[in-house]
Amino acid sequence: MNRLALFIPLALFVGLSLVLLFGLDKDPTDLPSALVGEAFPVFNLPSLKDEQNVVTEQDFNGEVVLVNVWATWCFACRIEHPMLNKLSEQGVKIIGLNYKDQRAGALAWLAERGDPYQFNIFDAKGSLGIDLGVYGAPETYLVDADGIIRHRRVGVVDDRVWESEFRAIYEQITGTEQ
């Protein structure tokens, strides 16, 4: 009994080491998402191209879409943009959420780099951003035909991320092979 008790510090040390070792693999910036499985928030905002045109979540109701949060001030969005163009060519419907940006700059960006979006929501004050829990751009949400958010990615969507995180869910909810 007493001899076994001598091993208690060793056991504690090994236990703590294992906990810390597994902790190393975790990305601290990867926050748990509160919105996966919830309905896309209700909104009422002007579109990017036409100030007079008001868009709401009803505009993509009944369709499987990606909602992509982007801005011209966001450096990683430059890296992500070709991937969005590619997905759009493959038939994936993408809605843009232009987040806390300038209208003229954003339009110039689309003219220069191509426009993969069905339409863009112009969220100058970031109000929809707060409802979505956006804390940095780019962010991408996969929304199903019932308007439920099925997946969220904070950060760039590239080929690897699409294959590992989005593709399976996308094919499942659209019922197609992409």
Partner: protein
């Protein structure tokens, strides 16, 4: 005389302006906020202390200067003006940014160990203390037999030592 008064006045204004600078620095980055009812202000500051900036990991909303924190501070001010309770405001943010945003996490199945560990450590300490006190005191029981047990061998050792030494002396 008039010049002296003017000088004194300008000194006062200078002192007052540095005072203002100091107090704004004290709330570090937080905009000067106006409330319709001053009683909201302490609650506002309390909330900013307890809520975490989602972008910058280890800063609260009061410390952080990131755009998202500015937006959230404005949002909290708006909600306070709308007479929402602290709990409603926290729930509003939690439903968007997840529990991560609460620096004082709620007690649930993920956090009970975190909240309970101080109690567990105190209980463990008490247990060790009790066990320690229940053990018989070493001075009362152990040392007396120790002397009794060792004294015969001690005397025999002494005798043997004396013999050996005696032999040595005889040889010399």
């Amino acid at each position: 005389m008039r010049l002296a008064i003017l000088l004194l006045l300008s000194l006062f204004t200078f002192a007052a302006s540095t005072e203002v600078v100091k107090s704004t620095e004290a709330i570090k980055g937080a905009e000067v906020v106006a409330f319709s009812d001053e009683s909201l202000r302490p609650r506002y500051h309390q909330l900013l202390q307890e809520l975490r900036c989602p972008k910058c990991q280890n800063q609260n909303l009061a410390d952080s200067n990131s755009p998202i924190s500015q937006d959230l501070r404005r949002e909290i001010q708006r909600m306070l003006e709308e007479q929402m309770t602290d709990k409603q405001i926290k729930d509003y943010l939690k439903s968007r940014y997840s529990e991560f945003i609460l620096y004082r996490p709620e007690v649930n199945k993920n956090t009970w160990l975190l909240w309970g560990s101080p109690v567990l450590v105190v209980l463990l300490g008490l247990l060790i203390l009790l066990r320690h006190n229940r053990q018989p005191k070493p001075s009362a029981n152990k040392e007396v037999p120790k002397v009794n047990k060792e004294s015969p061998s001690n005397t025999s050792d002494q005798q043997r030592l004396a013999e050996l030494l005696g032999d040595k002396e005889n040889q010399q």
